[in-house]
């Protein structure tokens, strides 16, 4: 049978997906074991036991200086920044994207501005944000928003523009005005696309979060990684990176599930 025609079942799919991950873990363990055989104090590729020990301190023992459980404070701080950034971006993408997509005069007026902002590398704006908002939370959230909102706005707007002309005409022959058209025709159809845009923005959002935390912060997952880097503490960096990956995958899963649940008509086979 040709490879393009092969269908993979659920169980087999799970198995196949697990193989490369398992191989990678095995490769790491072999490499770590061989390095430890040569030098028992090796810090570059720590063994799982060492990682568990180092993480247990951060997970369960209060930091002597601040009295906080560092892992959880880091996670909470990062998720708060990410959530605020994603939330503000999502709301602005929906409002601005809908207006840009549905109303040609608005698109003509603000389209070039949004495009212009979208092509600026957000990290280049970070100094401006630090100067304008200080080194606190606001500048980190602002970096995430500036980094992902223009993309999301353009994505939602493009989707609304691409709605079949027939639908827009039909709605008008049913008596809909601009506002009703946006509210009942464009908005519901933009929602699944908006969720898709959030999913695609999750990666960049994490990049901007970690960058902002690395440069100026006193808590957060990115801050911790860059802090312990000075001590070559791979036994903390690696679990933190895995934890970030896990959080990102969980968010992606929740978004996909929400979209399928709320907008089954947009997912074809879902209903």
């Amino acid at each position: 049978m040709r490879w393009v025609n092969r269908r993979i079942g659920r169980g087999n799919g799970f198995l196949l997906g697990a193989i490369p991950i398992a191989l990678l873990v095995l490769l790491y363990l072999t490499a770590a074991a061989s390095r430890h055989a040569a030098n028992p104090n090796d810090k570059i590729l720590p063994m799982p036991g060492a990682m568990a020990e180092a993480m247990a301190v951060l997970l369960f023992q209060p930091d002597p200086l601040s009295g906080q459980l560092l892992f959880w404070t880091d996670t909470l701080a990062s998720l708060e920044r990410l959530g605020l950034g994603l939330g503000i971006s999502t709301v602005s993408a929906l409002l601005v994207g809908l207006l840009l997509g549905a109303l040609p005069p608005v698109r003509a007026t603000f389209g070039p501005l949004v495009t212009g902002i979208a092509v600026i590398p957000p990290i280049a704006l970070l100094p401006i944000l630090f100067i304008a908002f200080g080194l606190g939370e606001a500048s980190k959230v602002a970096l995430i928003v500036i980094g992902i909102a223009p993309f999301m706005i353009r994505d939602v707007a493009a989707h609304v523009v691409a709605l079949p002309r027939e639908q827009i005409i039909k709605a008008q022959t049913l008596g809909a005005g601009s506002w009703q058209l946006m509210l009942r025709v464009a908005l519901p159809q933009a929602m699944p696309r908006l969720i898709q845009a959030i999913r695609l923005s999750l990666g960049p959002a994490w990049v901007f979060l970690i960058s902002a935390e690395a440069i100026a912060s006193d808590t957060g997952l990115g801050y911790r990684i860059f802090l312990v880097r000075r001590y070559l503490a791979m036994d903390i960096i690696l679990p933190y990176v895995a934890w970030i990956a896990l959080l990102a995958v969980a968010m992606d899963f929740v978004l996909t599930w929400t979209s399928r649940r709320l907008y089954p008509w947009a997912h074809g086979a879902g209903h």
Binding site: P164, E166, Q167, I169, K170, A171, Q172, T173, L174, G175, A176, G177, W179, Q180, L183, R184, V185, P188, Q189, Y263, P264, W265, A266, G268, H271
Partner: protein
């Protein structure tokens, strides 16, 4: 009797390309006008002008004696070949939408007694087009024929002065198409509609219509094919007993009583 719709000296041009030239038409209330013609003869352009989707380059259109704004409105319903229904709404939602727009300018949604009344009216309309069993189905779950039935119900609930059909049955298979012909003929007579239908199917044009317009170019310059536009080269009023033997049977009984080249 003043005509319901009257087009005077309509020209549609896109830059140098002339699509329609000097189209003049009077359409009486209650007629079923079929528009036929080769591809590119401006059938759909003419429909778009009547619909208000685009303004003619020159000429005037009067509906009920008043000039027509170059914008779509609830007085002219439309069914396109595809994409006429909203994929995010159920059949009922699609049909109620027209009533919601008129009665709730801000929220475009109805609640309580008003909603119940609107749902009842929409249900009745869906039953009239044969979708009584699929009230809560989404368009993606429907066949092409069902989607066109829904598009018709959606348009008719607004009681439009004119119903415009742009190759409405072009994408359907022959069996379904025959059912749809029977449906549209019945609705045309039940709701006293005025219908303008663009079609590629000449048999359909003659079997359904009370008047057939053929659009084509009168003049053709082989070195500048876009120099001249199309106009109504044949305008054939058909006399046939209204709904005497159904649309298919009626095709045999057609008599063409005038053949006047406008």
């Amino acid at each position: 009797m003043t005509p319901l719709l009257s087009l005077r000296n309509i020209w549609v041009e896109y830059g140098d390309k002339v699509v329609l030239e000097n189209v003049g038409l009077d359409i009486a209330a209650g007629s079923f006008v079929s528009i036929i013609g080769p591809s590119g003869a401006g059938k759909s352009s003419l429909l778009r002008v009547i619909l208000g989707q685009e303004a003619p380059t020159r000429g005037s259109i009067m509906l009920d004696g008043a000039p027509l704004a170059p914008e779509c409105g609830p007085d002219r319903g439309v069914v396109f070949q595809r994409y006429s229904v909203f994929p995010h709404l159920s059949a009922l939602g699609n049909t109620v939408f027209g009533l919601e727009c008129a009665q709730a300018p801000f929220t475009a949604r109805l609640f309580g007694a008003k909603r119940r009344a609107a749902v009842a009216e929409a249900t009745e309309m869906l039953e009239a087009v044969g979708l009584g069993n699929s009230l809560h189905a989404f368009p993606a779950e429907m066949s092409g024929g069902m989607q066109q039935r829904l598009a018709i119900a959606q348009a008719l609930i607004k009681r439009p002065r004119i119903l415009l059909l742009d190759e409405p049955f072009g994408a359907l298979d022959p069996g379904i198409r025959a059912d749809m012909h029977a449906l549209i003929t019945r609705l045309w007579s039940d709701y006293s509609l005025t219908i303008i239908m663009v079609t590629h199917d000449i048999k359909e044009a003659f079997s359904l219509g009370t008047r057939v317009l053929a659009l084509d170019k009168r003049r053709h310059d082989p070195h500048a094919p876009h120099r001249y536009g199309a106009t109504a080269v044949y305008d054939l009023p058909l006399t046939k007993p209204r709904l005497a033997a159904g649309p298919e049977g009626a095709a045999d009984g057609i008599t063409i009583d005038t053949k006047d080249n406008t």
